[in-house]
Amino acid sequence: MIVYFLCIFLFLVGLYGVVTKRNLIKIVIGLAIMEYSVNLFLILIGYVKGGTAPILSNEVTKRVFVDPLPQAMVLTAIVIGLATTTLLLAIAIRIYKKYGTFDIREIKNLKG
């Protein structure tokens, strides 16, 4: 139970970064930390004590396997997380070129 609590606390740290910070790069870092913590939580649920990785081989005949279904879901979720982080960073570069700063309170003016 302590492990679940720490994992959700990591999620809250990321949420604190998204809500409070004024720097755009810190907001992107907070969002990425939130994604990492959700992936970790899904794998934590599927763990069986004394289990091995879900791969059959000739030496391993009758063992207890860890759950393979959350691993299949999280495998695609990691690549999707990279895609969204890269898109956010591309937008951040454009904002820096136009306004000259990463501060989100100064980019509210609609310049032509």
């Binding site: 740290v13 990425a32 763990y47």
Partner: protein, 174 residues
């Protein structure tokens, strides 16, 4: 095993808090690498080698891109000012109380850590190798039982690449 996971998670939380509070942006990005690489060790301890391979390479590529972006710009940090009223402090305490209450409600129904009752997964593990023919069960689940989700993931990656090319306005610049 659980003790190792707890130590790693505390290290990751420390790295995350330091990354969000650092004054210099370069320190923030390098401390963000602690969270990513700690996650790789957590995946290895939880017996998921596929995920560890993917996570370590993608974390390295993300760090390279972020450092290249930050070195091109100013690296100063902008300070936030906390409001010092009493309503704000009461609001924080109410938030913490609600979080602890809902955490108790939801994880009380989950089984304890390590005692997973695999009701649905038995239908995938036992006939899995015979029906798909692959020794790696995770690959069999991704490409045979749930092939549609992999097609959706490939589409999202494709769309993200198109989005990056459009935002940077590399094509159609005439």
């Amino acid at each position: 095993m659980e003790l190792l996971l707890i130590v790693l998670l505390v290290l990751m939380i420390g790295g995350a808090i330091f990354s969000l509070e650092a004054k210099d942006l370069l320190s923030a990005v390098i401390a963000y690498g602690i969270v990513g690489f700690g996650l790789v060790i957590c995946f290895l301890l939880l017996q998921a080698p596929d995920l560890a391979l993917v996570q370590i390479v993608i974390e390295a590529i993300t760090l390279i891109i972020m450092i290249a972006i930050i070195l091109n710009s100013t690296r100063e940090e902008i300070k936030t000012k906390w409001p010092k009223t009493i309503v704000f402090v009461i609001g924080v305490f109410i938030f913490i109380g609600l979080f602890l209450y809902f955490f108790n409600r939801t994880t009380g129904t989950l089984s304890a850590f390590g005692e997973h009752v695999m009701r649905m997964s038995k239908a995938y593990i036992l006939p899995g190798a015979g029906k798909t023919g692959s020794a790696n069960l995770v690959t069999g689940v991704i490409f045979d039982y749930r092939g549609y989700d992999t097609l959706g993931e490939a589409t999202i990656l494709f769309t993200a690449v198109i989005g990056v090319l459009t935002v940077l306005r590399l094509k159609g610049r005439k």
